[in-house]
């Protein structure tokens, strides 16, 4: 105790901080960093979960580079990212921008938009799956047939399936992004807008010169956050294509689903680990590039 008493105030604060941090640091070490390190290790090995591990060097990565399914899946993953992120960004901003100006039923509408975010992805995927069925079951096709428009194969076409799976994923994330955008909009001082009003500039100038630049930190957060979400998409795809996960013909299969397949259907742990490492690197690079691009002035 004498030792503790002789510490400076700053040193005591550090001692206490570490005392409280010790448990989570240990926890993280065991459940996060150790498995991550292990996964990287396994990616250079051959392992079927039961037998012994054998070193294979870069074999798994070479196999990956030569695997046409991997490149298809790689492309799909980026499609989810490149369609999903901008679409959800624009949609959530437009909704938040207008919702912010609305007083009537504001709370109710905000709740409606937030509801999908709280809903289980599995339940939502199955409901949307039902929407997409052909007549007489599916909601959308029923509307189309009533309007005299030909049926659309939503989930059974290799071109339509990916956007159809993406739609509920975008919709589910919207509520959260709207809330974040509204908080960002509220943080902009009213006098900025009043000054602009006195200067007589139009709404478009206000939007592009004042609102959007001042929302930059919010936009950075949402872009990075939703990109990570779309790169890791799994549950929507898995639940909407259960009879042929990632189908038809791998047209909706994202990287995470391929990892799942490789690991728990093919029991090729080394190969799955290599895919995981690739996914990790993609996430890392995309996040860093976005932060760099959006942060700098």
């Amino acid at each position: 105790m004498q030792l503790y008493r002789n510490l400076t105030i700053r040193q005591k604060q550090i001692a206490w901080a570490w005392a409280f941090l010790a448990v989570p640091v240990l926890f993280y070490g065991v459940i996060r960093f150790y498995p991550t390190g292990n996964a990287i290790l396994i990616s250079f090995q051959d392992w079927n979960l039961l037998g012994s591990r054998t070193w294979t060097g870069l074999d798994n990565y070479q196999k990956l580079a030569a695997d046409p399914v991997f490149w298809k899946v790689f492309g799909n993953t980026f499609l989810y990212l490149l369609i999903g992120t901008p679409l959800s960004l624009v949609l959530s901003f437009v909704i938040a921008y207008h919702l912010d100006k609305l007083r009537f039923m504001h709370g109710f509408l905000r709740m409606l938009y937030f509801l999908p975010f709280m809903t289980s992805a599995v339940a939502m995927a199955w409901v949307w799956r039902w929407f997409y069925q052909p007549v007489p079951t599916g909601l959308f096709n029923n509307f189309l047939s009533q309007a005299g428009i030909p049926q659309i194969e939503f989930l059974n076409s290799t071109t339509n399936a990916l956007p159809s799976v993406l739609a509920p994923a975008v919709w589910a994330g919207l509520g959260f992004q709207i809330i974040i955008f509204m908080a960002g909009l509220r943080a902009i001082p009213v006098s900025y807008y009043e000054a602009a009003k006195i200067d007589g500039v139009g709404w478009f100038t206000v939007l592009t010169q004042i609102t959007l630049p001042l929302l930059r930190p919010t936009i950075v957060f949402i872009v990075v956050f939703s990109s990570i979400g779309f790169l890791r998409i799994f549950d929507h795809v898995f639940n909407m294509t259960t009879n042929n996960p990632g189908g038809p013909l791998n047209s909706t299969k994202p990287l995470v689903l391929m990892i799942y397949d490789t690991a728990f259907n093919a029991f090729d742990m080394g190969y799955a680990a290599a895919q995981t490492v690739v996914l990790f690197l993609i996430l890392l690079v995309v996040s860093l590039v976005q932060l760099r691009l959006l942060r700098s002035d």
């Binding site: 006195i198 007589g200 100038t205 010169q209």
Partner: protein
């Protein structure tokens, strides 16, 4: 450049009326300061002139033109906000240029105008900077620059100095006054600080609870306050108010000899209030007004404020700074009757 006229101006939020029929004429090139405590309606009035608040009834004229239903941009005004409202993501030059965005000037003309304004405000070498790299006073100057660049008929200032520290405030006060002398536009300036009002204004408008209490030059509102509110609001420390009775043209205070005073207007009753500024009240032996015991001294250097317990309550007087009376000492205080003010206690209106 233009004059400004408010006629029977009323502002109500739903059932609550916050401004009860303001009448005011501001001459071309005049510097008018609205002053009053929080919630007196001074900022609301300014925002109505700017067009940021709707007029409930009455009219606002700028340059002889009723502007009630005109957008802010059509009113030929510019406004400086309390938090400056300069955009953090734009350079000083772009901030100032924002005021010219809708102007039909050619690009070189705009650039020349920005340089001219920057030169007037002494900011030429700051034009490339971002607001985060500026001090409070410099940001304030950018806000003024953005308003100036358009050369508006009327400048509106909404408590622009309240976010600055005391020293900077004094300095900016002087700069704004010099600027006015130089450019000569009409200025309406809102503040809650009576010192700012006194030092800057051509005329002061003192407001309380949505009513104008008095309009006058700094000299008039200080030396000829229209009522007890103005008398106590203007001047620091506040005017001493002594309750008394008016009997046969003489004023009786709680103690001491009755006082002869000419009354210009008949009071509503016998109850009156005698007002004397601390600056006019000093220890004296000749014809004292009141006496009491010194409870606290506040030395200010050249003079010392003394707080004196009297039969009429605690009053403040000014004594010589070199030789002030001691705490506990009994002093007699006197003032020149010409510097005394008499108010009706019921209505608060001046009687002398």
């Amino acid at each position: 450049m233009a004059n400004l006229a408010l006629k029977k101006l009323v502002k109500a939020y739903g059932q609550t009326e916050v401004l009860h029929g303001i009448d005011l004429e501001v001459a071309d090139g005049e510097f008018v300061v609205f002053v009053g405590p929080s919630g007196c309606g001074k900022s609301t009035t300014l925002r109505m002139i700017a067009g940021l608040e709707e007029v409930t009834s009455g009219t606002i004229e700028i340059g002889g033109r009723v502007v009630n239903n005109l957008e802010p941009k059509e009113r030929d005004i510019a406004m400086v906000f309390q938090n400056y409202a300069i955009y953090p993501h734009m350079s000083v030059r772009k901030n100032i240029a924002f005021g010219l965005r809708t102007s039909k000037m050619s690009r070189p003309d705009k650039e020349a105008r920005i340089d001219e304004v920057a030169a007037i405000l002494g900011m030429t070498d700051l034009l490339a900077r971002k607001p985060s790299q500026l001090s409070g006073g410099q940001r304030q100057r950018v806000a003024i620059g953005r308003a100036m660049v358009r050369d508006p008929a009327v400048f509106l200032f909404d408590e622009p100095l309240s976010n600055l520290d005391a020293q900077l405030r004094t300095q900016m006060r002087l700069e704004i006054k010099k600027l006015h002398q130089r450019v000569g536009n009409t200025i309406v300036f809102v503040t809650h600080d009576q010192v700012e009002a006194m030092t800057m204004a051509d005329r002061i408008v003192i407001m309380k609870d949505g009513h104008i209490q008095q309009v006058g030059t700094p000299d008039q509102v200080y030396h000829r306050p229209a009522n007890t509110f103005v008398a106590q609001f203007i001047g620091a420390p506040s005017m001493n108010m002594l309750d008394g009775q008016l009997v046969d043209g003489r004023i009786r205070l709680a103690a001491g000899a009755p006082l002869e005073m000419s009354v210009a207007r008949p009071p509503s009753g016998a109850s009156v209030v005698l007002g004397v500024r601390p600056d006019d009240l000093a220890p004296t032996d000749a014809a004292p007004l009141i006496e009491g015991r010194v409870s606290v001294r506040e030395p200010l250097g050249a003079e010392t404020l003394i707080y004196v317990e009297t039969a009429s309550g605690e009053i403040v007087a000014k004594a010589d700074g070199r030789n002030p009376p001691a705490v506990g000492e009994v002093v007699r205080l006197g003032a020149d009757p010409a510097n005394m003010h008499l108010f009706d206690r019921d209505t608060g209106m001046v009687l002398t």
